[in-house]
């Protein structure tokens, strides 16, 4: 185990904003991802799925990762969980520092694979988009939740089932004791996702990774699950990494947001800065492309679009990866060198050498 030195960790207070959401910028981190690079071996050679990804996750904080297909948001979460397919995917460089329950720091990249199961499901839990594929159809939901408690806590069967019933009640499943004996197919999509959340939270993880947890749900059910996330976070110090393509959901759950494009973080900042005052041309374009209820564009003939397509991992432009689609791109500047992730005075960061000159320009 490595001790992780960081001077910024000295200030312990948690501040809350007007909405009562904790602005945990002042509390010491639980997870620090530094210069993460993930590679996959494919039949077309080695491809870099994610590179140069860095971020910090603090107690009671939700960090959202947004981006479109192939941007690397799910790969990032799988790398943290040590779930990259062995033999094809691997962390090529960088570190994933986790503050353990003991207070010591572990680099999950260097940790022997045999130790990962102690962390997964116990200190870091994960939930996925489609709960049906993550739940075992042959076991009751009670047994599946109890298994996690049994594995990580060494509880007996009766005690583990008791804990399972308690968790089902906590995630808002009516008649939890009766539901222990239900099989996944007997539950609706919303109920299955609640079961997944109950299972994930059963060992009180310090970190929850939620990969598109509401994407497959109807909006009225999504609203219930978002409310559940909020109340669970209010009642614990759990940190959440929330991956979604839905900027509306991000606005409701996240404190800080990472915007990813073509395997890199292109912008990072508070949820208000990212959604209200985006600086990167991609973030600006993405936000402008979303049809939204509060800004109907009826009468306008067209939606705003980002021209072109997301480049495939093997065909990314060598310097700025967004350059071919960017309205502000300048030959000689944007294709000169890969743009660094520049720190901003407000604590955010941006990967664009021209952001100062385009900040005042209208959308995208």
């Amino acid at each position: 185990m490595l001790a992780y030195p960081n001077n910024a960790d000295a200030v312990p207070a948690t501040v809350t904003d007007a909405e009562g959401r904790a602005d945990a910028a002042a509390t010491p981190p639980l997870l620090r991802v530094q210069d993460l690079r993930v590679e996959f071996a494919t039949d077309r050679g080695r491809i870099i799925a994610v590179d140069d990804v860095s971020f910090t996750l603090r107690p009671a904080q939700t960090v959202g990762i947004v981006g479109e297909s192939g941007c690397g948001k799910s790969v990032t979460s799988l790398a943290i969980m040590g779930l990259l397919a062995a033999g094809t995917g691997r962390v090529a460089s960088g570190e994933i520092m986790l503050r353990r329950r003991s207070g010591a720091w572990s680099d999950l990249v260097k940790l022997p694979r045999t130790q990962l199961p102690d962390i997964r499901g116990d200190e870091i839990a994960m939930i996925f988009q489609e709960p049906m594929t993550s739940l075992n159809p042959l076991h009751t939901v009670g047994d599946q939740i109890a298994e996690a408690v049994f594995l990580h806590r060494g509880a007996g069967r009766a005690e583990a089932l008791e804990r399972a019933a308690e968790m089902l009640a906590r995630v808002g499943i009516p008649q939890p004791r009766q539901r222990l004996g239900a099989y996944p197919h007997e539950l609706s999509g919303g109920m299955r996702q609640r079961v997944m959340i109950a299972m994930a939270l059963s060992c009180e993880p310090s970190i929850l990774i939620a990969d598109e947890p509401t994407t497959a749900l109807d909006v009225t059910i999504q609203a219930q699950i978002i409310e559940l996330f909020r109340s669970l976070q209010d009642s614990s110090q759990m940190a959440t990494l929330f991956i979604t393509h839905d900027l509306g959901v991000i606005a409701e759950v996240a404190h800080r947001v990472l915007v990813m494009y073509a395997g890199q973080v292109v912008e990072e900042g508070s949820v208000v800065e990212i959604l209200k005052r985006p600086k990167h041309p991609y973030t600006r374009g993405l936000i402008a492309s979303v049809p939204r209820l509060d800004r109907p564009e009826r009468g306008q003939a067209r939606f705003f679009t980002i021209p072109g397509q997301i480049p495939e991992p093997g065909r990314r432009p060598p310097a700025c990866r967004f350059m071919p689609r960017c309205a502000h791109a300048e030959v000689g500047i944007c294709d000169a060198a890969p743009p660094p992730l520049e720190a901003l005075p407000d604590g955010g960061s941006i990967r664009c050498v021209k952001w100062r000159s385009i900040e005042t320009a209208p959308h995208a």
Binding site: V219, T220, L247, E252, R292, P296, R298, Q309
Partner: protein, 356 residues
Amino acid sequence: MAAAYAASNGVRSKRPRMLDQATAPAAQDVILAIENLRKSFPVTAAGGVGKAALLKAVEDVSFTMRRGEVVGLVGESGSGKSTIGKLVLRLLDASGGRVVFDGVDLNTLSRGELRRMRRRMQMIFQDPFSSLNPYFRIRDILAEALVVHDIGSGREDRYARVERLLELVGLPVSFATRYPHELSGGQRQRVGIARALAVEPALVVADEAVSALDVSNQAQILNVLMDLRAAFGLSMLFISHNMAVVQNIADSVVVLYLGRVMEIAPTEALFAAPHHPYTIALLSSIPIPDPELKRRRIALTGEIPSPIDPPSGCVFRTRCPVALPACAEQVPALRAVGEGRFSACIRDEAAASILA
């Protein structure tokens, strides 16, 4: 504007005619009339034992679409919106009611007649990958649609038409010789649209046509659809669960819940002031990408009930924040509540003020 439609021939309509003649569009303006449409599917209990039951996917749905109009058909899982889309094209046979396309009741058509009629009605599917034959080049996928409907003379002419179609949907002509797997999701959906347009249809049913796409592709495809509509006066039944998309593309909206129509309204009126408690709750549940926006959310408790055993009376009453005991007694009639607006609720006047 979609209007709740009481069949002009009162004999067929089970419901009393509750609409003014003035609100019903003139027959020649109507491209599509759905009249008291029903569809149920028999379902058997697990393992084939036990009693068979009926899943009521669509119950007594009526609305009309004018020529050149885009009608948004919205609702959550189990609302029956996709089933209605299939019934409109007669990809499914209705259990009751009628689909009248351009004055012709589709149920009265023979197979041959239906096939000829299909040239005028086309569908765009959600997943453009599973609906494009992976062994065909793009030009042959598109040319096949022309061959099936006997459009064009010979291969040269059809390939020339294919090139024009590709241009129409914003794809480079060089894509003609590619295979579907060489295209991105957005590009494949453009091919799906081109195929639907190949036969110059009068009506397009778009079933979640942009739902599988990333945001930037979604906006591009919506623009293609809007351009085509402007250019050809396409009538479109736009089926979607995404209310924000519907708000931007539809002229009027039909809101469904558990197989029944809850509300019909011109788009702007619906979003400015939803009438039915379900519409109010649905709109308030949609997250908006503005963390500083303060809104009142009407949280719906519970789950969407099973269409095999729907609630008595109003199907929404089990989750409705303003339901009364009376709501369980009879199915509320769809009644006029404003210009071109209809709502199926006995509480909607109270609802608007209570929930506002």
